[in-house]
């Protein structure tokens, strides 16, 4: 049996879990083994309706009201007990914070090795798998030999696919025996994100301006853009050297290093000094007149154009979005 860990919101499975499930089904199909799912929370009962299409035969709904709230150790202990009860060939979890965390706990509790962020698995006597290293820049080919194989699926590497034949899914409660101590770590509360007034280094969105801005007054456009994205404005060394922005606003090797979800680089050529400071950005959107500028090699997205035309237009569009 291949067991897949599915996260869900109110009974509908999360995308990364469906990706993991796709990998799990490949394994199940290859070994002609049944595909089963473990899921938490009362609302997991509803999963059967969706997961039929994915060829899931059984959904093990962990039946303990205390588990409606995420509690990594208790969740992992439950999976460990399910492993004892069902002895799956492999457990596949999504490569999310929770997926990695729960499966790592399972590995520790059951003394099993775990392969994180897998890309592909080939079956022979052992699992010949490939997994991501260096955030995906490298692939490790590895051999996993273990009673139960613990795998997480690398995010965004599998497209969720339904099975050729839908299964007749049954949802079965699984009742773990859990000490109160297993609940020592659990989500106490969830707070709304508040991004106002965050520092450059901690901002989730940063809008940066370089020499292409042309002067201190033109930073207003960037301020407006940053405001509508709940972000903060920064500047390149060139702009700071010109005296257009205070030193504190400098992004770069000798300034602040930023690690936002999005960095919008406007009129910034992309000198090494600057790029080192925004290495931590998950996504870079560059607005620059020169398609050959260094920033274009490093950015994920680009608009080729004059920021003085593009940014105001974008500000208008974002105002309309509200």
């Amino acid at each position: 049996m291949i067991l897949s860990f599915v996260e869900h919101a109110g009974g509908s499975p999360e995308e990364p879990s469906l990706e993991a499930l796709t990998l799990a089904r490949e394994l199940a199909t290859a070994t002609d083994a049944p595909l089963e799912v473990v899921a938490f929370g009362t609302e997991a009962s509803a999963l059967g309706d969706t997961l039929r299409a994915y060829g899931v035969e059984t959904v093990h709904r962990v039946a303990d009201d205390r588990l409606d709230t995420y509690a990594p150790e208790a969740w992992a202990e439950s999976v460990a007990q399910l492993l004892d009860a069902t002895d799956p060939e492999a457990v596949v979890a999504p490569g999310t914070d929770r997926g990695q965390e729960v499966l790592a706990h399972v590995g520790a509790k059951c003394d099993l090795p775990m392969a994180a962020n897998c890309l592909d698995v080939e079956l022979s006597e052992v699992y010949e798998l490939s997994r991501q290293r260096w955030g995906g820049s490298l692939v490790e080919h590895a051999r996993l030999d273990s009673d139960t194989k613990l795998l997480t699926a690398a995010p965004h590497e599998f497209s969720p696919e339904t099975a050729v034949e839908a299964a007749d899914t049954s949802v079965q409660p699984f009742e773990p025996t859990l000490d109160e101590s297993a609940f020592r770590v659990s989500v106490d509360r969830v707070e709304e994100s508040d991004e106002s007034g965050v520092s450059l280094g901690e901002a989730r969105v940063v809008v940066g301006g370089g020499r292409g801005i042309g002067g201190p007054e033109d930073y207003d456009k960037l301020e407006t853009l940053a405001d509508s994205l709940s972000g903060t404005v920064g500047a390149s060394r060139a702009a700071v050297n010109e005296g257009w922005r205070p030193h504190d606003d400098q992004i770069g090797q000798t300034g602040t290093k930023i690690s936002p979800d999005l960095y919008v680089a406007c009129g910034i050529s992309g000198a090494v000094q600057h790029m080192v400071g925004c290495k931590g950005a998950d996504n870079i959107l560059a607005v620059n007149t020169d398609p050959e500028a260094a920033i274009m090699q490093k950015a994920d997205y680009a608009v080729v154009g004059d920021l003085h035309e593009v940014v105001p237009e974008l500000n208008n569009a974002l105002a309309d979005e509200r």
Binding site: R211, R237, A238, V240, N241, E242, G243, H247, D248, Q250, Q253, T254, G255, S269, G270, A271, V272, Q273, V276, D290, P291, E292, A293, A294, M296, Q297
Partner: protein
């Protein structure tokens, strides 16, 4: 500007999009090149070379006139592009020796025309309040110094180049050069990963990758990547109140070989004190592989330890700012050459291929301009001979030589370097057949273009007693004045004038020219008439089109279609390139380099004829062998060839023989000389004492592109009928009254304020009685071009170009040396020899 459209052809391809390549493109465009392509493997504006991590400050004052003028001109250009911050710069002295050196800096500043002054520690503190003045004894303040933005300057230059060419500038970043195509000794095309560009001329401006590119064409650019450690510390609260990049002078802590400079709210701390860390160009990672940039590998921590201690000592308040940390730390890679100078000019084995490498940010705009002048019209306003890439030709290109010299040279950056200081590494590279004999005589060897040449002989120390009285006033009590010098030189000189000496080998560069068009060709090259009788020799200037000096040398006619050109060792590489480049494609002229196959031995002095005649088969009498002629002679068993002339103004010959027979030549003459009181004499006599007494000019000192032959006093040839390069300017210079004239001066008093007698070494400014530097009507400042003692005239002699108003014999002037002014007198205005003015000795 068309971006990233690599053309199929271009008149000029510049490889490298750093400050140098951009500067070249701009100036070439300004000078009329219409079709230029820049290719670089990296992105723009920072393609990943040294331009991207330079500290960007320009301190214009150096002891080299050309480098100072190049930096001054670069500052003008950066200013014009609005990319210069005039912060000023201060070099501080922690030691007494350095205080003296700073005085010498002021002296050079005056000589080259750059404002500068000495500061007390208190004055330093006023300007840079964060310097720990307890440690320092003085400061040298260069008010014109400042910082630039070379990346921005590059953008401006590309934009201007594009305007000048009406869109004819093609910029292709992210384009890697894979090969250079050479056919029949000429550059044809540049092959890249984005296609091949055919080109008439290609310039390698690829910084520390230049050797790799040159190798693609089978030629050498001798440089190695070397580490310069640099860190940046911030944010420093002290700087918070100051807007912009820099509000305080850059500080160079010379004795620790470090600098500290504000950059925004950071302090950049750079060091040249660490051990030399050289890289192999092949080991430099690609742009994609490098975490920062290819030329910014991580800091080698252990090498930087002492630098940190020194920096904390000199600027403790800033570096101990509780908020500040090391935000950036690199082993910055830059180009280091065997002698620290740039590598410029045509690479002589491939027509159309140029080098413009090993250039600092502070010189790049001006060097781009000068090389562009060189490329478009054949000479540059600022003389680049000292930076000619060909100066290492055929001896100094090996990896091992480059690494040894680069290591040694790295340690001279910021160090106090004596003008006569010799390299210690990679020595005994080129030795003449006389070498062992000279070593046996305790020769003190100096090096010139790799050749080992005796400067003086310790075995002659007994002559000091013999000439004690003559030398009494000429001894040098000061350590600096007498460093790399010996009074034995003066004693050898006096012996030579009294008896006879053997001087050899001079390390000449020797080129033979043969062919049916050789007369026309050489006639076009030289100022002097070369269509002379076989056996005659002609000493002649070689000029550029503007009438400035390219070289001065001797041409001997060996046969109707056979000439021999003999030139100095240092100029050999560039002369070879100049002569080679000017042979017309369709002319029947063959150039054969004989520098490594012939040795030279000079025998000069009143006893020379008797001594040589005793061992030659030929009649060496005055009538049989006239002055300024050449003949084949047999010396003992050795088939030789001799010219009767003398750079020290004595009777005698320069005798040339095959290297293989050189030792025998020495032995035969040495043995013969025993009956004639012969002594060995060194280059100290040949190059300085004898020469200065005779007023002979030395290329690179008196003779350079800044001055014309009339000013140098070398118009004795008149204007010949035949056309030659520079004829028009030369004729004009003769017709016009001189703006300046080269004069010989003597020092009147070596201790006007009492105390130690001091002796100038060269490059000192010449002042009027008011203490103002003499400046001629073309704005050229007077300075000492050569300095040396003339034992036979009993005076310390100086040469200098003086404005016409002051070029009068008997004029009293002053020379500033180490912060002190000394009275001097003009002895000779023009080229008349001070000693033996009628040349009776040569003609005897």
């Amino acid at each position: 500007m068309s971006s990233n459209t690599l053309p199929a052809e271009a008149k000029t391809v510049i490889i490298g999009g750093g400050i140098v390549g951009n500067s070249l493109a701009y100036h070439l465009a300004r000078m009329g090149r219409e079709d230029i392509a820049i290719v670089d493997k990296g992105p723009l504006p920072d393609p990943g070379g040294s331009t991207g991590h330079a500290s960007n400050f320009l301190m214009p004052v150096e002891h080299s006139k050309e480098m100072t003028h190049l930096t001054q001109r670069s500052i003008e250009q950066y200013k014009d592009m609005d990319t210069f911050n005039n912060s000023g710069g201060i070099e501080v002295a922690r030691t007494d020796d350095r205080v003296e050196e700073l005085k010498r800096r002021v002296q050079s500043a005056k000589a080259w025309g750059e404002p500068a002054e000495l500061l007390t520690p208190e004055e330093v503190e006023d300007l840079v309040p964060y310097v720990n003045t307890d440690l320092i004894k003085a400061g040298f303040y260069s008010t014109g110094a400042g910082t630039c933005d070379p990346l921005r300057a590059g953008e401006v230059m590309r934009a201007r180049a594009d305007e000048y060419t009406n869109g004819g500038l093609h910029v292709s970043p992210n384009t890697e050069v894979l090969d250079l195509h050479v056919e029949n000794g000429s550059i044809q095309a540049v092959e890249t990963d984005r296609g091949t560009v055919t080109a008439d001329e290609v310039v390698i401006a690829a910084g520390l990758w230049s050797p790799k590119i040159a190798e693609m064409a089978g030629v050498d650019i001798p440089l190695t990547p070397a580490v310069h450690q640099m860190v940046s510390v911030g944010p420093i609260s002290f700087f918070e109140d100051y807007e912009g990049e820099i509000s305080f002078p850059v500080v160079r802590d010379m004795d620790t070989q470090m600098y500290e400079r504000q950059h925004g709210n950071d302090l950049e701390v750079g060091s040249y004190q660490h051990r030399p860390i050289l890289w192999d160009v092949e080991d430099i990672p690609s742009i994609d592989e490098a975490p920062l940039s290819p030329t910014q590998p991580p800091l080698t921590d252990d090498a930087f330890e002492q630098s940190m201690a020194d920096a904390l000592e000199i600027v403790p308040e800033l570096l101990d700012d509780p908020e500040a940390g090391i935000r950036h730390e690199i082993d910055g890679l830059l180009s280091q050459t065997p002698d620290g100078g740039p590598l410029l000019g045509p690479l002589q084995d491939v027509d159309g291929l140029w080098s413009c490498a090993a250039v600092w940010i502070k010189e790049a705009p001006a060097i781009g301009e000068a090389v562009a002048q060189w490329m478009t019209r054949g000479w540059s306003d600022i003389d680049l001979h000292g930076a000619d890439v060909n100066r290492f030709y055929e001896y100094g290109n090996s990896r091992s030589f480059v690494k040894d010299r680069a290591s040694e040279g790295f340690q001279k950056i910021y160090d106090i370097v004596h003008p006569a200081e010799q390299y210690q590494s990679a020595r005994e590279l080129r030795t003449s057949p006389f070498y062992e004999k000279q070593a046996d005589l305790d020769a003190e060897f100096y090096e010139a273009a790799g050749w080992e040449r005796p400067q003086w002989y310790e075995s002659n120390s007994d002559l000091l007693d013999r000439y004690e009285d003559e030398l009494a006033e000429l001894q040098r009590p000061n350590e600096w004045d007498s460093r790399w010098w010996s009074p034995i030189i003066l004693a050898e000189h006096l012996h030579t004038r009294e008896h006879v000496s053997m001087i050899g080998d001079m390390g000449f560069s020797i080129f033979d020219f043969r062919g049916s068009d050789v007369v026309d060709y050489l006639e076009r090259m030289a100022v002097g008439r070369v269509d002379v009788d076989v056996g005659k020799t002609v000493y002649t200037p070689i000029l550029a089109e503007n009438g400035g000096f390219v070289s001065d040398l001797t041409i001997a006619r060996l046969g109707p279609e056979h000439y021999r050109v003999i030139t100095g060792s240092a100029a050999g590489g560039s002369d070879r390139a100049w002569f080679g480049d000017h042979i017309p494609d369709d002319a029947d002229v063959m150039m054969i380099d004989r520098s490594e196959s012939l040795c030279t031995l000079g025998v000069w002095g009143p006893n020379a004829r008797d001594m040589v005649d005793s061992v030659t088969e030929e009649d060496m009498s005055h009538d049989a062998f006239e002055p300024y002629t050449a003949q084949k002679i047999t010396v003992g068993e050795v088939d030789a060839w001799a010219m009767r002339l003398s750079y020290i103004g004595e009777q005698g010959w320069e005798i040339y023989a095959p290297m293989g027979q050189g030792r025998r030549l020495w032995d035969v003459l040495w043995e013969a000389g025993q009956d004639h009181n012969v002594r060995p004499a060194g280059m100290g006599v040949y190059g300085t004492t004898g020469r200065l007494e005779k007023g002979y000019r030395l290329f690179g000192h008196e003779l350079e592109l800044d001055y014309n032959p009339a000013e140098a006093g070398l118009t004795f040839h008149g204007v010949k009928d035949a056309d030659f390069i520079g004829k028009e300017a030369y004729a004009e210079a003769i017709d016009e009254e001189n703006t300046a004239t080269l004069c010989t001066l003597s020092v009147d008093d070596h201790a006007p304020e009492g105390g130690e007698h001091r002796f100038m070494l060269g490059n000192e400014p010449v002042l009027d009685q008011n203490g103002d530097v003499l400046v001629d009507d073309e704005g050229r400042r007077s300075y000492v071009t050569s300095a040396g003692t003339g034992p036979s005239v009993g005076k310390h002699l100086l040469m200098a170009y003086l404005p016409q108003s002051h070029a009068e014999e008997g004029q009293s002037l002053q020379v500033e040396y180490m912060g002190q002014q000394y009275p001097v007198t003009v002895e000779v205005a023009g080229s008349r020899p001070l000693f033996d003015p009628e040349n009776d000795r040569i003609r005897s």
